[in-house]
Each structure stands twice: as C-alpha cells, then as structure tokens.
C-alpha cells in the first residue's frame, strides 16, 4: 500500500475490443513497478467539475514494459468519458491499490473464472501464474458472442447466456461440468464477476472443497480505506466488515458473506 502514487499518466491508446468493451493503455513506470495481479487503479474520468464526482476503480488487466492496460465496459457517464481518451491525452490515476490475489498457495491447477467484464484482471494473473509454473484452465462467461474477449488467457472455455458462442448457459455451470469430468486434487479458483455469479461459485467451491478466491466490486468514494464506503460483511473475525478497497478486492470465498 505504501507504494501508491497519484499521477497524470499519458494515454497510449484506447480501442474498442468487443461490444461496449474498451482496452485503455497508459504509461506509468511507477505503478507498473509495484502492481500485482488483482490490484486496481482509481481514475478521474474527467477534470474535476466536468464529469462524475467520484473516481472510477478498475482492475489492472495487464502490465507490459511501462504500460498499464485496463479493460472496461462502458456502462455510464464515467466509463463513456474514459473510452474517449486518445493518444496524447492524460489521465489522473491513483494506484496500485488493494490486496492482490494470493497466488503462492499450495495448488497445482489454477481455475480462472470470470463473468462479463470480470475478465479484466485475468490476463495479469495468467502471466504471473505461468511464472509460478501453475497449470491454468480459464472459464469465461458472457451475455453473447459479441462481448467475448479472451486475449492473453490460457486454455479458455467460453459460456454465453444466449448460446451464441461456446457453452449455452452461465460460467459456473460450465465450470461444474468441467469439474465433474476432471478430478483435481489440488486446484484453486480465482474469480471475478457479478455478485450473483460469485455467490453461485462460492457454493460450488464449497461442494467441491476447492479453495476459491474472489475479486469483489464495491461502491467506493476514495479507494484507499478512508471513506469506509465499500464495506463487505466478514463471515468471522474481530471486525464485522472488511473494506473491498483496502482489505480486498481479493478475498477467500470463505471470508465474506456476499
């Protein structure tokens, strides 16, 4: 946490990569130097007074040389403004923030599971897990084929709600089919996606006795543990709530009540 910085960062590129989905690349050697998979950045989408009040948090999708990559959906005013960035523009970024995924646990196969734009942190995680020598199986669920984005992922299986690409159904059902056909003694799930998906995944992981780590979203004002806005209920601990921004966004599925 001590390595976080607030910087104006030059935009390298911003391109549409799927339906409503953009890939933003910006330069920040300082953030790259300390970023870990699962961490996020908090971005001002317009000058103060010219856009939404609050910053918007985004998972770091990938790092390359001095470049940070983000993948995001345009869902409102803030993300729309962000998607309009062009090379030569500058964005005000705070990061890296939050606790990364715990990649170093005792497991052989990493099961990466994402719903929709929850795919965002997976490329960075994939690259890192390869360094740890883990086997990676990736499961991504989208509404339809137009949203599918699988670059920089390993051994990808796709589910779509409408059946227009891959498995017809949701990503948790797809993972369950896979788990029923394969026996993993030592696997760990890393997941990011909508809360309803993470809930179903938590149940599946419990039934299959697989360790499962979730990257959560939360409504936050500051992103650094001050506003106390992004509370999530803990299952057991001395404190009733954890903060998504500071204690997470990565939590074991057994740690939190979604």
């Amino acid at each position: 946490m001590n390595s976080m910085v607030q910087q104006l960062c030059p935009v390298q590129s911003c391109k549409k990569i799927a339906t409503d989905t953009f890939l933003l690349r910006f330069n920040s050697p300082d953030i790259v130097a300390s970023a870990q998979p699962g961490q996020f950045v908090n971005i001002l989408t317009a000058e103060i007074g010219k856009g939404p009040l609050l910053r918007r948090p985004f998972s770091i999708s990938r790092v390359e040389d001095n470049i940070i990559e983000l993948i995001f959906h345009v869902v409102g005013i803030g993300t729309n403004l962000l998607s309009q960035n062009q090379p030569g523009d500058w964005i005000d970024v705070i990061g890296p923030l939050g606790q990364p995924f715990h990649r170093d646990a005792d497991y052989g196969t990493a099961l990466l599971v994402a719903g929709g734009i929850g795919v965002a942190p997976l490329p960075f995680l994939t690259n890192d897990l390869l360094k740890y020598g883990k086997r990676i199986e990736t499961f991504v669920g989208y509404r339809n084929a137009g949203q599918v984005f699988t670059k920089h992922l390993q051994n990808v299986r796709i589910a779509t709600d409408d059946g227009s690409d891959g498995f017809h159904g949701n990503v948790v059902q797809l993972l369950e089919l896979f788990l029923n056909q394969n026996n993993f003694q030592k696997a760990k799930i890393f997941a990011c996606g909508p809360t309803v998906m993470l809930k179903a995944l938590t149940e599946l992981a419990k039934r299959k006795s697989i360790c499962c780590e979730l990257s959560l979203e939360g409504q936050m004002a500051c992103g650094i543990g001050i506003c106390q806005g992004c509370a999530v209920e803990r299952t057991e601990d001395t404190a009733k709530y954890a903060l998504v921004c500071k204690d997470g966004p990565a939590f074991l599925s057994t740690e939190v009540n979604l």
Partner: protein
C-alpha cells in the same frame, strides 16, 4: 509553528483559544481517516490541521452495505460512524499522528452525554491533541448523532459538560437539518463552545426504480460534495450573523474560489471534505491558492477576508430569522 508563510510575507495563520494554526485550511472528519492511509498522497504538514474520523468509546462496525451512492455533483453516505474506538486510536494511531507537523483535532461521536464525556476525558490525558470537534450532527445513526444537534437544549448541555472537562478548543459540528441553524449555534456559543463547524451532511436519499428499493441500506443518508456548497454557504452566512465565535466552513469545497467564498460569508477557516476522496492533495492546493489570491489582491492577512462580504442586507430573508 510559522505565522508567516515563508517568503511570502502574507499572514496565513489564525488563533483559536490560544492555539495557533499555520493556515486556515483543514481536512474534515471522516474524509481523511487518521492520516495514515492518505499521507503518501498529500503533504499533511502543509495543513492548518486534521479533524480525525469520529471516535466513540467502543469500536463501531458501521452500517450494512450499501453505504455510498454517487449523485449529481455529490454523494450520499451512510457509514454509520464506523470507527476503531478511542482506546485503539490512542494505542495505534495517535503515536503516528504526533509525528505530523500539523495540529490534530479529534472528532468525537457518542450516543449519550456520558459517552461524550468519557471519550473526551480519556483523550485529555494524551499528548498531541490540540482540540476537539463534537459531532452532534451525524444523520446516519439511530441513537445520538443528529438528534442532539437538532435540539438547542441538548446541544447546550453537551457543550457545557464538555467545556468543564477541557481547556482546549471545543468545536461543535452542526447539522443543517434544522429550521434555523443560527439558534443551535447560539446555544453552543452560550454554553462555552470556542467555534462551530458548519455544516455536516444534508439528509438525502436515492431510489433504485428497478427494484423499488432505496439505494442505501439505511434508506436515507447524508449528502455531501459540490452539490451542497450553496446550502453550506447560506448556513455559514446565517451562523456568522448570529454568533461571535469563529466558524469552520464546510460543504462541497472543491477549489480555492469555493474556499474564499466561505471566508467572505464569515468562515474563519475551511474544512475540505468529500473532495479529499477525489483529489487527496486538494487541501494543500487550496492552502497555496489562498496565498496566491492574497498576493494577487495585495492582501497581507488572509484573515481580512473573513466576513468581508459586501452584501446589502435590506432584502435578506435570513436577516429576519436572526
């Protein structure tokens, strides 16, 4: 503590009950934590002072999610005074806060008069605290909070009891959710308050029309941010007309210009709140902005701006409330 900003020749400081603050820019309670999370992003030593996150006797876990909703030019929060409790503050946070070259004012929240007194008494024995801000204005807790600050008698009672327990600056933080805030301010003043902070958040709400549920778990929350600045200015103006004690102006300040508006309507100093979340260094930028404004306008003491509004009160409605 420097009185004059180095090299500028402009007086930036002011004094409250014998405590000299290096400038008139502070950070508001609940928007700066206990200083430890944010110090990488802002030079806290440049501030007039830090108002800490509210402290109660026991730790409070706060309200269930959802606690925050963004609104037009503002945000609603319903944190519910989540805090580590005064004992843990003393053991874990105060040692670090003492290393800052700025003044620490501890904000106290409580659900009873006794709790206010207990928390303040425990803090009185500690080094590194120059004063207290008393939160009688939180709109997001069922017991205490705003219920105290909407009542003149309760406000006076709490103030007078705490007054007996300390010789340090005692600042009462007022709620705008009353008919006439000037009446509450007068109660605080006559009970011995050294200053008032004006304003805490405005009660507000937001609804999800798909689910027909309120967006906040507590149905209503407190509105803050630039959206409330015009309301806050009017409240500071009203209080300034009613009391002689200094006012800490708070409410949506996002620029030097905003902050100077507060001084002109009668605030002796300002607290930056919600905007710390968006630009952690904004308070220092405003402190610099005060000096630049003074230089450009050939003002030797920032204090000369306090209450310097050029208003014709002939048609002022507020005037009739006082």
């Amino acid at each position: 503590m420097t009185t004059l900003s180095i090299g500028s020749g402009i007086k930036t400081s002011f004094t409250l009950r014998g405590v000299e603050f290096k400038n008139r820019v502070f950070v508001a309670s609940g928007t700066f934590g206990y200083g430890d999370e944010i110090h990488d992003l802002v030079d806290v030593n440049r501030l007039g002072g830090i108002f800490t996150k509210s402290l109660s006797w026991k730790p409070r876990s706060g309200n269930p999610p959802q606690r925050i909703v963004e609104t037009a030019s503002g945000m609603l929060n319903s944190i519910g005074l989540a805090n580590i409790g005064v004992q843990t503050f003393i053991e874990q946070k105060l040692i670090y806060l003492r290393t800052f070259n700025t003044h620490i004012i501890v904000n106290i929240a409580a659900s009873s008069l006794k709790e206010f007194c207990d928390v303040l008494s425990l803090l009185e024995g500690q080094d590194g605290i120059v004063g207290y801000e008393v939160n009688v204005s939180c709109p997001n807790v069922k017991e205490g909070g705003m219920n105290f600050g909407t009542d003149c008698k309760m406000t006076a009672e709490i103030t007078s009891h705490l007054r007996k327990l300390t010789n340090k600056p005692l600042i009462i933080k007022l709620t705008p959710n009353v008919t006439h805030i000037s009446e509450i301010a007068r109660s605080a003043e006559s009970a011995g308050a050294d200053a008032v902070s004006v304003i805490n958040t405005l009660v507000g709400m937001a609804v999800d029309i798909k689910t027909r549920k309120p967006k906040l778990s507590t149905v209503t929350g407190g509105l803050s941010g630039p959206a409330i600045k015009p309301v806050a200015l009017a409240k500071v103006y009203e209080v300034a007309k009613a009391v002689k004690i200094p006012i800490f102006g708070i409410g949506g300040i996002a620029s030097t210009e905003d902050a100077i508006e507060f001084l002109l309507v009668g605030a002796a100093a300002v607290q930056i709140g919600t905007m710390n979340f968006i630009d952690p260094a904004i308070s220092v930028k405003i402190a610099d902005g005060f000096e630049n404004y003074a230089r450009e306008n050939k003002i030797s003491d920032i204090g000369t701006l306090v209450g310097a509004l050029d208003a014709d009160v002939k048609f002022s409605v507020i005037q009739s409330w006082l």
